[in-house]
């Protein structure tokens, strides 16, 4: 056994924090997988009563889905800007991403209130309960994402600006944000379209 080699040693060549994020996201798949599976089970059950199809507004949700998708694009633009070390543009695109996320959230809140007024409440029946818990859980993720983006934007205001290294970096948040977007594409298909 010989020694003398300096720390840290990353045998995979992947940055450790990024690797940690990937591991985290892989368990997130299980979170959403469980939620979606139970939603599908209940969706297929023949319990009488109000269903999502009685209240939903596909065009509206399509637009808000499109907005969330666009936020992934702005996220990529922010990342590109940072790679080019353009702090100004990075901040703009970051803020744009956060705003698009916020618009999506506002849309979801509006949608929930609309459904609520139509009598499709959390405790109406199994269909409504599983709908709200599933989409609400995703909404919570978007909310956390927006907070992270704003925090990043705030850090970018400081003198040093943003970098692609360090604890809370842009790449880290971008991974999370893209994941949340992709999940929504699945949810939108499963919940509204099928």
């Amino acid at each position: 056994m010989s020694s003398s080699h300096s720390y840290p040693h990353e045998p995979t060549g992947v940055e450790t924090r990024k690797l940690g994020m990937w591991v985290f996201l892989s368990t997130e798949i299980l979170f959403f997988g469980t939620l979606i599976t139970t939603f599908m089970i209940f969706k297929g059950s023949d319990f009488p009563g109000m269903k999502l199809t009685d209240v939903y507004d596909i065009p509206f949700t399509s637009i808000s889905s499109f907005i969330l998708l666009m936020s992934s694009l702005t996220m990529v633009l922010a990342h590109n800007a940072l790679e080019a070390n353009d702090q100004e543009k990075t901040r703009v695109w970051l803020l744009a991403t956060a705003m698009l996320g916020a618009v999506f959230l506002a849309g979801q809140i509006y949608e929930f209130t609309e459904f609520y007024h139509k009598g499709f409440e959390l405790t109406t029946n199994i269909f409504s309960s599983s709908f709200y818990v599933l989409t609400g859980f995703h909404g919570l993720h978007v909310f956390i994402g927006v907070v992270l983006l704003l925090a990043l934007w705030g850090i970018g205001q400081r003198q040093k600006g943003l970098t692609l290294e360090g604890g809370m970096n842009l790449e880290f948040v971008a991974l999370y944000w893209h994941f949340v977007d992709i999940v929504w594409i699945v949810l939108f298909t499963v919940v509204y379209l099928i």
């Binding site: 995979t12 979170f31 939620l35 405790t123």
Partner: protein
């Protein structure tokens, strides 16, 4: 030698913690070794409580139609016994081993995310405290419309729906009060702790291995940690969602598991056991890892079939996700599902068998040193085989419909989780005692502990096989005198107290040896893995310089070569190498960057119980307090610089 930690001058509105000794140094520590030790003590504390609950249960069951406990108390006790032993004792005690040993075994300075590690520990502590606060704040009672002859009392105001929380019995209508909320949310918090440590260990194993530590050179204990972390990462999300549903059902009137609103109580069983079966392997695989370290060391032979043992471990973990419904053979599932899950359950016996035979192959032809850790490891094999074989009788579905929900099952899983997991854990506690404390434990007391526990264990759980086959049903507060179950129940209770006695012997040994034990030599067991290539107790910096690994059991090969017959021969230079290693280990020559202690893990973690209480009592102020604590913790965490250097003056 002096160490100087310079507090950060960088922007942070909070002063950095800088104590190296005293209580604050423990509260703010991010050192994996200290966290491991704290995990160990906390888990052992809960093990004692869980054991106490078991003794209370056994007193009640020593006589037919006994009234030592009320039904409410009995139900609360068995629920808390199961929940405590699984989530607050065995899992965290395994986490203690992971924390302490994993970085040492792969030659790393710490885990990948030291502060997350501290966070997961503190979340575990707060989760356990939250769950146990049910004895103070919780309420329980008769189902809606039912009557009780007497008050429930504090002992009965704990969760009472079983550790499995079957719905709808654990729902609001049939388990009113807040006790089951404490259970659901407490498990949720504990789940977060385990999930975080799972991310941490997976990342650590993938990315923190020292140079040359290829996957197939990792010690088996590290491999099992890896497998357990994957099991945690992929099974805990399922139970987390299921517990969300339970909490929604109980607190906000949804009907996920309630038939009257379109829900399905059997869905809970599926989700619970989709988590619950991998959980069994989460509990047992660390013991597999420990035994796979202890047996080769004290047989002075390499592990027989290293690759097979590793793949068998992962095979068990993988198949473990496909057998959950064998907990539901008597439930509402079709004969096709029964047959399928029966077969998949049988299949899991194959990799398990491979492991057992390979362990036997390891000791066969060795030079066995029968000291306490070795005795516990050998005992582990003997007891685990019994649990495994009774497990095979469960895969025979028709036979299982007779055995399920009886004491036969209780006997089975205690042979697996006590005779298996806990024997393995005790083996590990003795084995690594010198490494952690730099002292030797008392061998005679250790052997007394082993034999008392072996006797007590078999007296307790052996007769339970018979009791179960004779029709004693689990979770029953009383049994009728005509069932003729009394004789063996008395034996079982006596056995339980012998176990308690053995635990006292263990504690005495621990306390006295830690204080007055002989000083442990550098490598007391002539061991094989990297953690023995550094001084005992482990220095703060683990390895003064990163070791470079050239083979499996590299440390052993440094000391030994083989002659033409294949027998181990000690190298002439071995003693010299050991001396140098000890010297180097105590006197690091380079500046060492160690992660800094931090207040924020404990601050962040302290927010969670408030959020838990907020959900139970639907209280906005409590929710705000919790959120603020989370935000302070998160903000401080995000803005504090990660690591600074410990400057070491090695010119003594």
């Amino acid at each position: 030698m002096t160490k100087i930690i310079e507090p950060s001058k960088q922007s942070s509105i909070f002063r950095r913690p800088s104590s190296e000794t005293g209580i604050w140094s423990w509260i703010t520590t991010v050192d994996h070794k200290r966290i491991g030790i704290m995990y160990g003590y906390a888990a052992f504390f809960f093990l004692l409580i869980g054991g106490l609950e078991a003794l209370i249960l056994r007193i009640q069951l020593s006589q037919p139609d006994n009234n030592f406990l009320t039904a409410a108390e009995y139900n609360a006790m068995f629920t808390m016994h199961g929940t405590t032993m699984i989530f607050l004792a065995i899992m965290p005690i395994s986490a203690a081993f992971f924390n302490y040993l994993l970085p040492l075994q792969i030659g790393a300075r710490d885990v990948a995310f030291p502060r997350l590690n501290a966070l997961s520990f503190w979340i575990f502590i707060f989760g356990g405290a939250f769950l146990y606060s049910t004895f103070i704040f919780g309420t329980a009672g008769a189902p809606e419309g039912g009557y009780l002859a007497e008050e429930v009392g504090w002992l009965g105001s704990a969760p009472n729906g079983g550790w499995f929380g079957y719905q709808p019995n654990a729902g609001m209508k049939y388990s009113p009060g807040t006790a089951m909320d404490y259970w659901a949310i407490g498990l949720q918090i504990l789940g977060i702790a385990s999930l975080i440590s799972a991310f941490n260990f997976i990342t650590t194993i993938i990315n923190m291995r020292t140079e040359g530590m290829r996957f197939m050179r990792m010690p088996v204990f590290t491999w099992m940690t890896f497998a357990v972390s994957f099991l945690l990462a992929f099974s805990l999300p399922i139970i987390a969602i299921a517990l969300f549903y339970v909490t929604f059902d109980r607190k906000f009137g949804t009907t996920f598991f309630l038939t009257e609103g379109g829900g399905d109580p059997i869905l809970w069983q599926h989700l619970f056991w989709l988590f619950g079966h991998p959980e069994v392997y989460i509990l047992i695989l660390p013991a597999f890892g420990i035994v796979s370290e202890v047996l080769p060391t004290f047989s002075r032979k390499p592990l027989f079939g290293y690759a097979a043992i590793v793949f068998a471990g992962f095979g068990i973990a993988f198949i473990g996700f496909g057998v959950w419904a064998h907990h539901m053979f008597a439930s509402a599932i079709s004969p096709v599902a029964q047959a399928g899950f029966g077969l998949s359950t049988m299949v899991i016996a194959v990799p398990t068998g491979v492991k057992i035979f390979n362990w036997l192959g390891t000791i066969w032809g060795g030079k066995l040193k029968l000291n306490t850790p070795m005795l516990f490891s050998l005992g582990f094999i003997g007891m685990f085989v019994i649990g495994g074989l009774s497990g095979v009788t469960h895969s025979i579905v028709p036979a299982d419909t007779q055995q399920t929900d009886t004491y036969y099952v209780v006997a089975h899983f205690h042979y697996v989780l006590f005779g298996g997991a806990l024997f393995g854990i005790f083996s590990g506690l003795y084995y690594w005692f010198p490494k952690v404390w730099g002292k030797m434990y008392n061998e005679s007391l250790g052997k007394i502990h082993f034999w008392l526990m072996m006797i007590g264990f078999n007296l307790t759980f052996g007769p339970m096989h018979w009791l179960g086959l004779q029709g004693q049903v689990r979770r029953t507060w009383v049994y009728a005198e005509e069932t003729n179950l009394q004789f063996w129940n008395i034996i079982v209770t006596v056995g339980a107290f012998i176990i308690a006695l053995s635990i006292i012997v263990f504690m005495i040994n621990w306390i006295f040896s830690k204080r007055n034990g002989e000083k442990a030599p550098f490598d007391p067991w002539d061991a094989r893995t990297l953690e023995w290539a550094i001084p005992s107790p482990t220095p703060v910096w683990n390895f003064s310089t990163a070791p470079i690994v050239k083979s499996l059991d590299d440390f052993w090969h440094t000391k030994y070569s083989e002659d033409e017959e294949g027998r181990a021969v000690r190298r002439e230079e071995a003693d010299q190498i050991l001396l140098e290693l000890e010297e180097d280990g105590l006197n690091p020559s380079e500046h060492i960057a160690l992660p800094n202690p931090s207040y924020f893990p404990i601050v962040l973690a302290s927010g969670l119980p408030f959020l838990g209480y907020a959900v139970i009592y639907k209280s906005i102020p409590l929710a705000l307090i919790g959120t603020v604590l989370l935000l302070i913790g998160g903000f401080g965490w995000g803005t504090e610089p990660l690591e600074e250097e410990i400057h070491i003056d090695s010119d003594e």
